[in-house]
Symmetry: C2
Subunit: 107 residues, 2 copies
Amino acid sequence: MPGTFCGHYYVAVFTAVRTREQSGYSETVARREDLVKDVPGYLGTDYAQIPGGLAITVGYFRDADAVTAWRTDIEHRAAQKRGRAEWYESYTLHIAKVERSHGFTRA
Amino acid sequence: MPGTFCGHYYVAVFTAVRTREQSGYSETVARREDLVKDVPGYLGTDYAQIPGGLAITVGYFRDADAVTAWRTDIEHRAAQKRGRAEWYESYTLHIAKVERSHGFTRA
């Protein structure tokens, strides 16, 4: 995530396995990346995926209100619905309040 | 993660970029996977990595005590130290209390 933040911000941890039906998916992800940047309190995202396997997206948000704003965004909700109908075999979502964090960067 | 849990369990979100120096790393990861299973309250792990890029490991723990037990495990601490000395270019760790979660599996 970009920078360092104080206080009890939130992480939204999304793990997903996708189906073989991926038409429209990459466009929606690109659009999602634009949309989330407009959410007040959005702090950044980390993403990783095993090719053909599990993908993990970690979104960082300043507070619970920011998480709710993103979760209930109308265009995002439509994408969530399409995800369940077409793109995701399974997923889990955990919304969690950060109690402690640290980072390391090689000198 | 395996199964579904009630109550306020914890996630430990570890993101890392590795160096080119990876001797001993894969053996240590295999050992770590064995070790963490012995931590009382350990619930499971999700992992993803962009080849050559960011890796994300999400550990799930029943409570804060379980997280502390894992963080302070002597062999794990030695591995953390070696990680900073050799294997990691950078990393972030967030310990967070889950407030809400849900999952989806295709019918």
